[in-house]
Amino acid sequence: MINQLEEIKSRAQSELEHIKDTIGLETWRVRYLGKKSDLTQVLRGLAELSIDEKKSVGMAANQLKLLLEDIFKQREKALQETRILSTAAKESVDITLPGRRPPIGHLHPITQTIEEICDIFSSMGFQIMAGPEVELEYFNFDALNISAGHPSRDNMSSSWIDQSDNTGKKSMLLRTHCTSNSARAIAKLKPPVRVLTPGKVYRYEASDATHTSMFHQFDGIVVDKHVTMADLKGTLYEFVQRFFGENRKARFRCDFFPFVEPGVELAIECAVCKGRGCSLCHNTGWIEVGGAGMTHPEVLRQAGLDPGEYQSFAFGIGIERLPMLRYGIDDIRLFYGGDLRFLRQF
């Protein structure tokens, strides 16, 4: 019987070597490993043998079974490999044809800018906040030391809401700056405060290439015991360099805003002329991007803070200007036109 097993083994091996396809392989499997295979016959015949023979033949038969299974798997894998490789060898594509693209959407450049600004200031410990766009006259003006009849109210021509408050006064307007929310923030939060409010602001102004009646600003305020103008300068210069790059110069100069004293105008070096002067920067070499300063004591007092105990700085910067300068966009109205040919560029 052992001889019979040897014969099965050599026959199976030599037959397997000649098999080239899956059908042949399946026939082989049925013949040598199936229920009616020669090997099965041998195993059935075991019953008639002595115990010793049973043991030795049984072991040899089982070993043969394992061997056959093993060479079957090897052959099956080898055939599969040959098939895959030969198919692959025949295939080819025109790599210059366009790919099958999922639709790609773009974030609005203003959104991208705001997210970048928020990231920069968040990393400096500022909390991002939002506030109402329809604002009370109090927070937009009075709390910011801009009393009625102040020329600064005229400079920021506002859109008033045609609706009375609970005192019967028309005291609501579309906020003219996000500084209104800084006023809210310091009235609500306990110092130390670092708050940044990005958002929409509104002016009663006709549209042209550099003006729209709605645009975006971000406004920051910091209140603590030892905040200085040097800190303000460091903070804003840090922002400029992180937004525009390490080499971009920034400038602080004296300016007037009713809610700060001393007041500051922040400008960045003109990228077009590198500070030498050109038409974009009106030959000054600098481009104004925002206002800032040490919060006016009256503003702190309005928020219930003691200007003797707390010091504070605040800043407000226009947002549209930043991507316009970065990308060379020459018409602010493009941001609000919804033209996909524009939006897909960002």
Binding site: R100, R101, P103, I104, G105, H106, L107, H108, I110, C118, G125, Q127, I128, E133, V134, E135, L136, G149, H150, S159, W160, I161, D162, Q163, S164, D165, K170, P192, V193, R194, K200, Y202, A206, S213, M214, V222, D224, V227, T228, A230, D231, K233, G234, F252, R253, C254, F256, E261, P262, V264, E265, H282, M294, H296, Y336, G338, D339, L340, R341, L343
Partner: protein, 800 residues
């Protein structure tokens, strides 16, 4: 405010260039918009005199001119027709840079041989000096022009155009800018004393002034000049007025403008002989009182305005415009000159109500110190006496009911450091302040008592003084430091993360973000209703809308997005997918509107990106629904969809989106009438979610469930069921059974293969136990139970 540097030099020594000065002024708060320099290139050009003119030996049209520069003489060839012996002219020596009269290019003057005669220099035309296009004739200077003086010194000037901030009315004047210049360059301002001859008759005998409204007029000063001649003012005054943007008219008008520019104090001139009763009364106008102003318009006044009157009637609207009845004309011989101080708010209201703007109003509105009236009055009187050949009456009238002493302000020098972050010595602080005319007195230790000069009424508090110090030392000197205080506790608003997440989810699905104005027109909103019914519940309205389509605060994004959709459809052939996040504004009675963070997405057109594989499937309802499901799945949320009834959407293709029992939004196809109203001729789909509501769900903490240990068994179940039964009805029943882990529908069919009124739904059900490996028997039992339940409740039968 335009100011000539030459004029400034009357009051302060300036050793730096106009551009440097402009930069200093800008840095210190008076932003310079532009600097126009005349004569910047006039090196090597001098004032000379023609002392000899001889014929050229070889050319009839050329002559040999000898020019005397005081120290030396030059002989040059010249072809100008107006060469006149004894004239003062501009002479360029070798090396001068001039504009070539023929080519228009800048050239450097070199020695030349002209028709055989050596010529080293040039007598210049206006064009060669860059003054005009005239290069035929040479420029002739005044007879008193000093020989040998560099032309840039004699005729050069620079005009600096300043944008003066509202807190600095004192800088709306040449003297004000001179004071700034002095403080910033370490110089002193020198104002020459004003002297003029007076006659014997006392001004008090000729005119009496009474202020009846001292609350609106704190001071009224006046002088009288008799026997004047109205004529043009001299060239020097013309030049300065023109340089500062004013049009010369006659000597009297020009003088009042000139002194206003110089001192910042507006003046008014009356024809004294038209003043009735030798009396000036300053009072509130009566309601509906009228006056014809200088421009010939009859003006209706009210009691909030101030008028200047004589014994009979109003003769001027105070601070804003004079009256025609007292106007100075060519026949005028006696001038009553006014310099007064009016309340800024009163001038503002008057000017605004009457719609009158003027240089005078601009200055009064910003607040001119009352102390300024007399110096300006005297200066103008002097000029009228000189240039109008008149005589001043003795003395001047000065009624001053509102005199106020300047209040002192205390400054603790340690505060300078704690505010600015830079150490400045006590001496440095005092020097900076004194340079600005602020009197300083050390009170104790590091405390200073500072009294600002009368023209600096804007300095009221310690911070104002600190700014003055910073301005003078320069903001450039302030170091850069980063906040060193401990970080405050942060409590970020979760809505920002939610918005960010939604935006990312939408762009990943091909949506482009747009931004629209928050204001819309009623017409546009109305288009969202297929019946175009008038909107009765009006949104929040702006009282002063710019245009009719910017009148109301938006209550929906739909209109703007459809407009943009339609605009893009003109050139986009594939799919259009747009979204916006932002606020809608819902009216609240007597309160600020409810501003709700919302997002809205619209899409239509092709499902896939256009490609060479020609897949022209169109987007449909299930695409927008899939977007909604995907977005919410990103947030770990399982929405439920319920048939909705939104008027603006297709009646049978819309669903409200619920999270448990809360409606968070709606999706569906726009009603075709609405799409058509926006000129859209294809189905457009909408997804709208209220983020303010969604945020309470998206912030729920997620719980981890262990990854399954035991394998699942999957069975398919194809059902024939009434067409009216929804997928959700079936799914809910299946999900209710134990061991059912997941139910997916993979086929929906209605058509020839099934009976009319029926449809086939095919489900793939996944069974799993957390405790053990399921057996076929267990699963078969549940499968049968499910089927029985579907049959009894929904009449479903297994599809054979």
């Amino acid at each position: 405010m335009k100011v000539s540097v030459k004029w400034l030099k009357d009051y302060v020594d300036i050793s730096i260039s106009a551009v440097d000065l402009a930069n200093r002024l800008t840095m210190a708060g008076n932003e310079v918009a532009s600097v126009k320099v005349q004569g910047a290139n006039w090196g090597n050009v001098f004032v000379g005199k023609l002392v000899a003119i001889n014929p050229h030996p070889n050319a009839d049209r050329l002559r040999l001119a000898t020019v005397d520069l005081g120290q030396e003489q030059h002989a040059v060839v010249c072809g100008a027709p107006n060469l006149t012996l004894g004239d003062n002219i501009c002479f360029a020596t070798l090396g001068a840079e001039l504009l070539d009269g023929h080519t228009g290019q800048m050239i450097k003057l070199k020695p030349a041989k002209i028709r055989g005669v050596e010529s080293k220099g040039m007598v210049c035309s206006e064009m060669e000096l860059g003054l005009s296009k005239n290069h035929e004739e040479i420029l002739v200077l005044a007879a008193d022009a000093p020989l040998g003086m560099p032309l840039s010194e004699y005729m050069g000037d620079a005009v600096i155009d300043l944008e003066v901030t509202p807190n600095r009315p004192d800088c709306l004047s040449v003297i004000g800018i001179a004071r700034e210049t002095a403080a910033l360059t370490g110089q002193k301002v020198h104002v020459a004393s004003v002297n003029y001859a007076e006659n014997e008759s006392l001004v008090e005998k000729k005119i009496a002034v009474e202020i009846q409204s001292p609350d609106l007029c704190s001071r009224y000063s006046a002088s009288l000049i008799t026997g004047i001649k109205i004529k043009p003012s001299p060239k020097w005054m013309h030049d300065r007025l023109i340089a500062c943007g004013m049009r010369p008219i006659n000597n009297i008008v020009d003088i009042s403008n000139y002194v206003m520019l110089e001192y910042g104090q507006p003046l008014h001139t009356f024809d004294y002989d038209k003043i009735v009763g030798q009396k000036i009364i300053v009072r509130r106008a009566s309601e509906n009182e009228t006056i014809t102003s200088l421009d010939g318009v009859e003006r209706k006044l009210n009691s909030r305005m101030l008028v200047i009157c004589d014994a009979a009637r109003a003769v001027a609207i105070a601070g804003v415009m004079g009256g025609a009845n007292s106007e100075v004309t060519d026949q005028t011989v006696n001038i009553l000159l006014e310099a007064a101080s009016f309340k800024p708010a009163c001038i503002y209201i008057t000017g605004n109500t009457l719609g009158l703007s003027s240089e005078s109003r601009y200055r009064f509105e910003r607040g001119i110190s009352a102390e300024m009236t007399v110096p300006a009055l005297k200066r103008a009187t002097q000029l009228i006496v000189e240039l109008g050949e008149g005589l001043a009456a003795k003395g001047y009238i000065d009624v001053y009911p509102g005199k106020q002493a300047m209040k002192s302000v205390e400054l603790a020098c340690s505060r300078v450091k704690s505010m600015l972050g830079i150490e400045i010595s006590l001496d440095g602080i005092i020097a900076a302040l004194q340079g600005l005319g602020i009197e300083c007195q050390i009170v104790s230790g590091d405390k200073i008592k500072a009294v600002p000069p009368y023209w600096r009424s804007d300095i009221k508090i310690e911070a104002d003084l600190i700014e003055e110090v910073a301005r003078v030392i320069g903001y450039d000197m302030i170091p850069l430091t980063l906040l060193a205080e401990p970080l405050p506790h942060l409590t970020p608003d979760p809505i920002f993360d939610l918005i960010k997440n939604i935006r990312r989810g939408l762009t990943a699905n091909g949506f482009n973000e747009v931004l629209n104005f928050s204001l819309v027109g009623l017409d546009t909103l109305q288009k969202l209703d297929p019946d175009r019914a008038p909107i009765t519940d009006l949104p929040v309205r702006v009282a002063n809308p710019m245009t009719a389509d910017m009148e109301y605060l938006r209550t929906t994004f739909r209109a703007n997005l459809l407009n943009i959709y339609a605009a893009n459809r003109r050139f986009e052939t594939g799919s259009i997918r747009l979204f916006e996040t932002g606020k809608i504004y819902l009216k609240c009675k007597n309160d600020l509107p409810d501003e709700r963070e919302t997002f809205c997405a619209v899409m239509g057109g092709l499902r896939y990106t256009e490609s060479w594989q020609n897949n022209d499937q169109k987007l449909d309802f299930y695409d927008i629904k899939g977007i909604a499901e995907g977005l919410l799945q990103r947030l770990g949320l399982n929405p439920v969809f319920v048939k909705a009834q939104d008027k603006g959407l297709h009646a049978n293709k819309q669903a409200d989106i619920y999270l448990s029992k809360t409606r968070i939004g709606v999706l569906g196809e726009f009603h075709p009438k609405v799409a058509l109203a926006f000129d859209i001729f294809e189905p457009v789909y909408l997804l709208e979610i209220d983020l303010k509501t969604l945020v309470s769900f998206s912030t729920v903490e997620k719980n981890y469930k262990p990854v399954p240990k035991f394998p699942a068994i999957v069975r398919d179940m194809a059902l024939i069921i009434d067409a009216g039964i929804t997928h959700q009805q079936v799914q809910t029943i299946i999900r209710g059974f134990p061991l059912v882990e997941q139910v997916d529908i993979f086929d929906v069919y209605s058509g020839e293969q099934v009976m009319a009124g029926k449809k086939s739904l095919a489900y793939r059900i996944s069974f799993r136990s957390a405790e053990h490996t399921l057996t076929d028997e267990e699963v078969n039992q549940v499968f049968l139970d499910i089927l029985n339940r579907l049959t009894s409740e929904l009449g479903a039968v297994l599809r054979s």
